[in-house]
C-alpha cells in the first residue's frame, strides 16, 4: 500500500479542436513528494492540473487519487477525492468581492467545517503561517500588494489542510526575493501538512527549491522525469535547452516543423 502513488496518471489525452494538448501523459507522484512540472508555454501543464481538478474533462486516460480513478468514480465520490486538493492559482484568483479573512476561510465555510464566528480567528492563524499580520484580515484583496495577494492565496489553499496541493506558477510576477519567500512558505506549508504537491513553474530556481522531483512536458507527453536537483545538469537535450533558456535546440526545431 505504501508503494501506491498518491496520484497516478496514465494515457491522459486532451485536444481542443484540432490542437492536441495532452497526448498520452503518464505520471506517478509518490505520497509526500513535491513534483515540479516544467515545459514551454502551451505544452499543457495547466491543462494537466485542471484535468486532475476536474476543471477540464480529458478525452481519455486514467487519473487515480489514492488508487481510485476520479474520471470513472461517481460524481459524489470524485468530488470527495478532489476535495483533498488545495490550489494556488497563478494570479491568486482571490475573490475580490470578499475580505481577506473571508477568502482564507472560504473553503472551510463551504465545507461547513467551521462557523462564521470562528472563521476570523482561524483566518488570523493561517495568515500568520504565511507571514501576514492579522490586521490585513479585513482588507479587500485589491488593497494588497502582489506578494501579499500571493500569500493570502497560499493561506486560502492551505487553510483546509489539504492532502494534495497544486501550485500554478507560484512566483510569476514577483521579484526574486518575494519569489524566494513564497517558495519557502510553500515548502514549509507542504512539509507541515505532509502534503503531496504538484507545482508548475518556468522559474528554475523556484523549481529546485520547491520540488523533490521534476517532469518535463514536451509535445503533449512527459519527455523526462528525474530529481529536481538535477534539472540544471540534466543531459537530456530538451530539458537542457529549456532549463538553460537556449534559443536553439530540439524545442525550436520542433516549432519550425
Amino acid at each position: 500500500m505504501s508503494d501506491q502513488p498518491k496520484i497516478r496518471i496514465r494515457g491522459l489525452k486532451k485536444r481542443f479542436g484540432s490542437k492536441v494538448v495532452l497526448d498520452g501523459i503518464d505520471l506517478d507522484i509518490a505520497p509526500r513528494t513535491g513534483m515540479v512540472v516544467i515545459g514551454g508555454s502551451g505544452t499543457g501543464k495547466s491543462v494537466l492540473i485542471k484535468s486532475i481538478l476536474g476543471l477540464v474533462t480529458p478525452d481519455e486516460g486514467v487519473i487515480e487519487i489514492d488508487g481510485e480513478d476520479v474520471l470513472k468514480a461517481p460524481r459524489g465520490r470524485a468530488k470527495e477525492l478532489r476535495a483533498q486538493i488545495g490550489m494556488l492559482f497563478q494570479n491568486g484568483a482571490l475573490f475580490d468581492s470578499m475580505t481577506v479573512w473571508e477568502n482564507v476561510c472560504f473553503g472551510l465555510l463551504a465545507q461547513k467545517r467551521i462557523t462564521r464566528r470562528k472563521a476570523r480567528d482561524k483566518a488570523a492563524e493561517v495568515l500568520a503561517q504565511v507571514g501576514l499580520d492579522a490586521s490585513v484580515a479585513d482588507l479587500a484583496p485589491s488593497e494588497l500588494s502582489g506578494g501579499m495577494q500571493k500569500r493570502v492565496a497560499l493561506a486560502r489553499a492551505v487553510a483546509s489542510e489539504p492532502a494534495i496541493m497544486f501550485f500554478d506558477e507560484p512566483t510569476t510576477g514577483l521579484d526574486p526575493i518575494m519569489g524566494a519567500v513564497i517558495d519557502e512558505l510553500i515548502v514549509n506549508c507542504v512539509k507541515t501538512l505532509g502534503s503531496t504537491s504538484i507545482a508548475i513553474t518556468h522559474d528554475m530556481a523556484s523549481a529546485q527549491r520547491i520540488g523533490d522531483c521534476a517532469a518535463m512536458l514536451y509535445q503533449g507527453r512527459v519527455s523526462w522525469t528525474g530529481p529536481a536537483s538535477e534539472l540544471m545538469t540534466c543531459t537530456d537535450p530538451v530539458v537542457d535547452q529549456f532549463t538553460h533558456g537556449r534559443a536553439h535546440g530540439p524545442i525550436t526545431m520542433a516549432l519550425r516543423k
Binding site: L53, G54, K79, A83, G86, L94, G107, A110, Q111
Partner: protein, 261 residues
Amino acid sequence: MNRLLSLIEALGATILGMIEFTGELAIFAGTGILFIFRPPFYPRLIGRAFMEIGYFSLPVVALTALFTGMVLALQSYTGFSRFGAESAIASVVVLSVTRELGPVLAGLMVAGRAGAAMAAELGTMRVTDQIDALSTLSTEPMGYLVAPRLLAGTIALPLLVLLADILGVLGGFLVSTQKLGFSSGTYLVSTFTNLKTDDVVSGLIKAAVFGFIIALMGCFNGYRSKGGAEGVGTATTSAVVSASILILALDYILTQVLFVK
C-alpha cells in the same frame, strides 16, 4: 460550383453554431433552475443580487416610468383630440403602462444596468480564475453564482414593474390634470374603471419572465467569457443585446398568450 459549396458550408456551420448555442443556453438555464432548489442555499447572495437588480435599479426604472406616462398622456391627447376622444386618455395610459410599457421598459432598463453588471462581474471572475477557484474550494459555481441571480431577477423585476405601473399612471395623471385641464376625479375614475386585475397580473408575469431572462443572459455570457478584458467587454455587450432582443421577442409571444382571446 466551389463558391456555392462554400456558401452552403458556411450556412451549415452557422446553423450548427446556432443549434449548439441554443443547446448550451438551455442546459445552462436548466442547471441554474435546478440549483435554485438544490442545497446549499445562499440567502445572503440572493439578498445581495436582489439589492443589485431591484433596489439599485429603482431610480432609473422610476424615472423612465414617470416620463413615459407623461409623454404617453401628451401624445395620446394630440392624437385623440383630432377625433374628440380625449376622454380615452386615462384608459390608454393605464392599459399601455400596465400591460406593455411597464414590463418592457423596466426590463430594458434593468438589462442595461443589472444585466451588464452581472456579465461583467462573472466575466471578470472567469478570466481571473475565480470561478475555477470556487470549484476547488468545494463550491459549485452554478449554485453559488448563477442560481441566486436567477431567483433574485425573477422576484425583483415584478416588484420594480409594480412601482413602474404606479409611477407611469401618476405621470399621465399629472400631465392630464396639470397641463391638459382634466379634472382629477374624472381622470381617476376613468383609470380605475377600465383597469382590470388581469392587466396588472399579466404585466407582472411578463416582468417575472423578463427578470429571469436578464439574469440568465447576464450570467450565461459572463460565465462563458474568455480572453481577458476584451472578452469581458464582449460578454457584457452580448448580455445586454441578447436580453433586450429576447425581452422584445418574448413580449410579443407572452402578449399573444396572455391577452389575446
